[in-house]
Symmetry: C2
Subunit: 337 residues, 2 copies
DNA sequence: AAGGATTGTTAAACCGGTTTAACGATCTGC
DNA sequence: GCAGATCGTTAAACCGGTTTAACAATCCTT
């Protein structure tokens, strides 16, 4: 590859002049600009991104840290979230560097990513990386609230308590009392938040929360999300009474629907079903169409990216953003007679 | 941030020694190593990735170019393909730099990505980028065959002609003659290849290809894939006879199923359905479970990454890989009486 | 005990850009 | 016609690492 020196030599000007032609940070006369560009074209020269990054101390790259998925598949939430991040970053001239690696703790092997800032999905409890990025002065935005809560750290999250409250309120409001809640994995903050929201709904309706049945997804027990819904319904049905199901995702709802068909339980006539949804297109292709709470993962990703970009450019802006969910009533729920 | 010089000064050694301690490319005595590491810890020093990349002329980053999705959503194929790329790259110590930007043609603004190689999804016809990467001597692997075909360029692809042939052979073999093929967008090579495979199946069975009805997806006409299947069935049914449908993706099949339910057409009793599938978990949650051709997008991504990694390390290996698809018979097809 | 091999360390050059400070040339005003 | 401002260009320093060549210190040989 040709370097800036080659171009300078061929065009008969100095390095600095060539640099200015390409970066446009300093005015260069028409004549010289033309000569430089021609030389560059002749040599097939393009500025070296790495060298430039070193000099300006910016890479124009945002890092996106995703939890390691053992099976390689990304959930709909992750996919959509990522889509939002990529779109927003791209629009603002940033590239996205993906990585699913756990941070290495051997300091002799750890090397800082070539990024100007980081978006981190689903931080763990007391995640040590949060502090580390702080030390390194690398802007950080979380997707999913930090645990423990920290006012100083930037994050975006669904209002998960509100999600639980909203769907609970809806189902209890149309007469259901016993609800099977197929919740997310118990080590996730979302699971905790949604459950506490549901509990609050029960309280508001004066019904003991004990009438709800809460299950948690487990990687060990369930092959995939659909299988979770399928197995959970088969196992629970008949053992304990319930007239409605809240499914953690569309996929879980799909499994529930299939199990219900096999058991001969009509949805929504004998069983109501609500899905916490990441994928509105899927929810509309089932029979009956799914009543859902739309989580808008894409918006979450886009918001995270916006906040990060502001931080990277030292623009003062919001630090946190709670995205409200929206209940969309379709066909899968019915008032309890 | 502390630099290597700071550490050298504090540890009382030279730059080069500190470098060797971290890169382990040269043996350093126990004593000095300890002193350097302690100094580094005290200063909170981590090697600067950009500076290192400049010096060693490698970034350990693979670029992944995806076509720009207008609506921000990625298809299941794209998602899975990406998952395969990420997993394989991560396993081999490479990060993945995503980008959906069209390459800028203004040479004063174009800057080479900080990548050691590139994986490009769905190259266009006569894609100028292929040649450009060649000029820059940046290793390139395509996902989806180049058009026109070029023996020199690396790529991985499904055996799409075989896909069309296989599914056609199956359906014609169980007595169907008129098949509605809901094919991909007509400007994609996959659409062309699959159709020619299907035509070959017709020929093999001595049935004029004219009995098949081939439709193409169109971004303008169809909101999303499921909607394509739904609308296509409603529009075509009754106008022209057919006893089987080949759906381009699981989502399309979902739409077909819904339309069939609304029209009161029993699947598979009165209509057989095969999906070209990217998402095996989805195909098993419908009623009836979908008979599919599994496209294994993830494998495709992983293979592309393998080939790229070999190229980036100057290891001679295969240049091209055609992945065969597998017909999985479930419940959505029935012999024509 | 001299000579050669081995090991560990260093100073300096280098990777390919950006940026600062200085400078010469042209343009203004008086 | 000269002082001062403006404009375009350049040489040199810099970003933070790696690597080469030279060298000093230690370890065998014989």
């Amino acid at each position: 590859m040709a370097t800036i020196d080659d171009v300078a030599k061929l065009a008969g000007v100095s390095k600095g002049t060539v640099s200015s032609v390409f970066s446009k940070k300093r005015p260069i006369s028409q004549l010289v600009t033309a000569r430089v560009l021609e030389a560059a074209k002749e040599l097939g020269y393009f500025p070296n991104h790495v060298a430039r990054s070193l000099a300006i101390k910016k890479t124009l790259i945002a890092g996106l840290k995703m939890p390691i998925s053992t099976d390689g598949g990304m959930s709909a939430f992750e996919t959509q979230m990522m889509g939002g991040v990529i779109q927003t970053c791209t629009k603002h001239g940033y590239r996205v560097l993906l990585d699913t690696l756990p941070e290495h703790d051997d300091p002799t092997q750890f090397s800082i990513d070539p990024v100007d800032g980081v978006i981190m999905l689903n931080p763990r409890q007391n995640d040590p990386r949060i502090e580390r990025y702080g030390q390194m002065a690398i802007p950080l935005v979380l997707v999913g609230r930090p645990d423990p809560m920290d006012e100083a750290v930037c994050f975006v999250d669904n209002n998960n308590k509100e999600v639980g409250l909203q769907v609970g309120d809806y189902l209890l409001g149309i007469g259901h009392r016993s609800i099977l809640f197929l919740n997310a994995s118990s080590d996730m903050t979302v699971a905790f938040d949604r459950q506490s929201g549901l509990a609050q709904a029960y309280e508001r309706h004066g019904i003991p929360f004990g009438e709800a049945i809460v299950l948690n997804f487990s990687r060990k027990k369930h092959k995939n999300m659909a299988n979770y819904g399928y197995a959970a319904l088969l196992e629970t049905y008949g053992k304990r009474p319930f007239s409605a199901v809240i499914a953690d995702t569309d996929r879980v709802a799909l499994g529930v629907l299939r199990a219900a068909r096999e058991l001969g339980i009509a949805v929504p006539d004998r069983l109501s079903l609500v899905a916490l949804s990441n994928d509105a297109t899927l929810a509309q292709e089932t029979t009956p169409k799914l009543t859902t709470v739309e989580l808008s993962a894409e918006l979450l990703g886009a918001e995270a990216a916006h906040i990060l970009i502001d931080k990277m450019n030292n623009i003062e802006g919001v630090h946190q953003r709670i995205v409200d969910a929206k209940l969309v009533i379709r066909e899968s729920c019915k008032p309890l007679a």
